[in-house]
Subunit: 240 residues, 2 copies
């Protein structure tokens, strides 16, 4: 099935390109490829790029910066696993063993990023997410699957909620929440949005960090000073 025999390097390069494009939505430069694949010479990268092009796995436009793109169809047919459909690499055992339980998939829009100080105004700026949509298995969120949206966490502002830079939080849009819910809340005065557990105390609300470490203290505010943007239903961290 594969008459293609790519060298180790070529495979690495291809994989990197795929990942990079996937991540940035634009192609890497020859030098960027060289760095990550540990090739010191740009011409060597170019050499291998030409090979890949001969195989039809990538397309290149002469003299164009980053003018290279992946030929996905060819890539899929090549039998190399980078096509990201995962078909070939899947563990067989599991699939056989299980009946086709039909888990519903959810498509959740990734609306932007959230950082302390920035309200969730659904205005993504510079940082971009590859997908635009987050795919979830239904079991990964609690409750109804409507009004869900996702945000990428930027910076360590949510550390006290044990949410790290780069994490993705899935929220359900709602203005109210129950005691004990983790919510994204906008705190007037602080001009800051954070993730906290919500507790009511009469006319006050207590915003409690999820992180039990004592360095993170609850915040208490008058109820009208806190605006709830949504309830957090899931936190996802994908490590590379």
């Amino acid at each position: 099935m594969h008459f293609l025999n790519l060298s180790e390097r070529q495979q690495e390069i291809l994989r990197f390109i795929v990942d990079f494009v996937h991540l940035h939505h634009y192609a890497p430069t020859i030098r960027q490829i060289g760095e990550t694949v540990a090739i010191s010479s740009t011409s060597v990268v170019k050499y291998n790029l030409n090979k890949l092009q001969e195989y039809g796995l990538i397309l290149r436009e002469r003299d164009i910066s980053r003018g290279l793109s992946v030929n996905w169809e060819q890539l899929q047919q090549s039998g190399y696993p980078y096509a990201l459909n995962g078909e070939s690499v899947r563990g067989r055992q599991r699939e056989e063993r299980l009946p086709e339980a039909d888990v519903e998939r959810l498509r959740v829009p990734l609306l932007g990023k959230i950082a302390a100080g920035s309200p969730i105004a659904v205005t993504p700026s510079e940082v971009y997410d590859p997908e635009g949509w987050i795919e979830l298995a239904a079991g990964m969120v609690a409750g109804p699957a409507d009004k869900l949206f996702a945000l990428r966490v930027q910076g360590d502002s949510m550390i006290d909620a044990s949410v790290l830079d780069g994490d993705i939080v899935i929220l359900r849009h709602q203005e109210t929440a129950h005691d004990g819910d983790m919510v994204a809340a906008w705190i007037e005065g602080d001009e800051e949005t954070t993730l906290k557990y919500l507790h009511r105390d009469g006319a006050f609300v207590r915003l409690v960090p999820a992180n039990p470490n004592p360095v993170y203290q609850p915040i208490v505010r008058a109820a009208e000073q806190v605006r709830i943007n949504g309830k957090v239903v899931s936190v996802i961290r994908v490590l590379k």
Copy 2:
């Protein structure tokens, strides 16, 4: 929400970018934009590009040639015509470039609990008595989808990795890891398994907490005192 009021030029530019990307699989340069939209000055293009970026309609990477991409979601929500009748375009483009849009589900065995002090004695192949299965969308783990298993975190022992009680960690079983990988490591002497970022230092390994809070300090051990159980590829937190 934001009411977008794009100038004629900005609309033209946006339209051109969409078309161009669709056609070439890479973004146009400032000058190319200028030519087709009849703007003689690159800085004017840049000026308008900034506007578009402020609206979140495009994303730009500073100093990167052709480092610009379209924010499809925002475009869609903006209500601009080409976003709507671009529906087909958009869909097609996505499929071409990102064949994984058809996300596969992964079924990962949940093998038990992890807590400080308890080694991860399980390897997917050996022990085969999972408590359950975790369903994931393929995009939620990086790399090949084999040898994956899941563990439920018990207690706050992983707090320094920003992993809370009840979280689920997805790991790929492997004995080695690269610098910077988050791994589940068994530390001899401490008789303890934790999640940490791995860094090598000659004959030593440094296990660095994911939580940048200074109360959590790196652990340094001789390399042979640390056994890697697997690499963490994802962390999932489902809130009730």
